[in-house]
Subunit: 210 residues, 2 copies
DNA sequence: GTCTATAGTGAGATAGAC
DNA sequence: GTCTATCTCACTATAGAC
């Protein structure tokens, strides 16, 4: 419930009264589950990052080549941003409300995740399969374009989230000018149809106070 | 002042007391310049969109080919997001607080701007110089990756904003797999060194109440 | 054009009963 | 584990003097 309200109205514009009403208890009852409003947000943000990090880690364990690895990172990132749209929207929007220790903790997790991307890009460049001028810039560009999916995706649209993920993975390969044997690397030719298995589903997040 | 506070803390977390204190007057004095807090935000968002739209329009008047046009859109978008970072950050973050008529007005301006991008991509595809699976998806990806610059750019970094803009324009061309005469189109070879002239500077935005 | 003063509302959080 | 009741504080906005 807090997730939906934070995503729709924003953290600051959401009162604990609304959250409590949404789950059918009184504001005071909320403080049995969380010590503060910020702690509710913190728990949501940790969930979102955990999803991204664990899926990425599992995929990177199985895949070797930079092009497969980058495609997997992009695919799984987009897939998660579509399937858990609100969760990632809050993650990408409300970081600034975190203060002190909470901010440091989430910031560190985010850096950990982004380091996966940069390392994959860097390896692709040194192996000669990617051609980018600046690894850091390419990392920002790729992460942002995939993250933005949470801002416009709707399950109602024509393409399934799996199709969208595949096309974003292909665009990611294009952005880094991935080439093997003198020709461009296309996502469809990598044989990564089963990528979605790395994004295991746990319990649904939208129920309960969070 | 309002711009800095909105960008740093967010619109909802910023009180009119802070804005007033920042410009050295009392909260009541603010209402001489704006009828409401939301109107201050509205004015800022209109400024940001006006910058993007007018620069894009001027560049598209002068340039013909899809690859030049797309490169110009990306370059100018990134340039503005770097030079007026806070202005665009607020634009990209606080849209949801607008209600009713204000939301419709800003939404329409945003659609107008994004239509430029989609039309350029579409033309590139029908002319056979771009190769993308889905114009709409490519438009989202390109806009998001360029917009994201406002989230991480700092003038302190190594590269100038003009260099960063050039590299993003090049990545944009890569993303759509731009090709001429059997070879990839590179930004450096387009001879668009003077693009920055389309981004004229008006009065500085950060002073005054806004 | 800016002030003082204040109305009116809602916020996050706590105490302590049950 | 959830309640009622209430604390304290900050908010946007207005009225009307100067």
């Amino acid at each position: 419930m807090a997730l939906r309200l934070f995503a729709e109205r924003g953290y600051e514009a959401t009162g604990i009264r609304s959250i409590a009403a949404g789950v059918g208890i009184t504001p005071a009852g909320l403080y049995h589950y969380a010590a503060s409003k910020e702690e509710i947000l913190l728990a949501l943000m940790e969930r979102g990052l955990e999803r991204l990090i664990s899926a990425a880690r599992r995929a990177l364990e199985d895949l070797e080549s930079p092009e497969e690895r980058l495609a997997a990172l992009a695919y799984l990132h987009v897939l998660s941003h579509g399937r858990r749209r609100l969760l990632h929207l809050v993650n990408d929007t409300e970081f600034r409300v975190l203060g002190g220790e909470n901010r440091a903790r989430i910031g560190a997790r985010r850096d950990e995740y982004e380091a996966y991307w940069r390392e994959v890009i860097r390896r692709g460049v040194v192996e000669g399969v990617f051609r980018v001028d600046d690894v850091r810039l390419a990392g920002f560009a790729l992460l942002q374009m995939c993250t933005g999916v949470a801002q416009w995706y709707s399950p109602e649209g024509g393409l399934s989230i799996e199709e969208i993920s595949a096309r974003f993975a292909d665009m990611a390969l294009a952005l880094v000018r991935a080439e093997r044997d003198g020709g461009p690397v296309r996502f469809a030719e990598l044989g990564l149809a089963g990528l979605a298995r790395y994004a295991e589903e746990g319990a649904p997040w939208e129920c309960g106070v969070g």
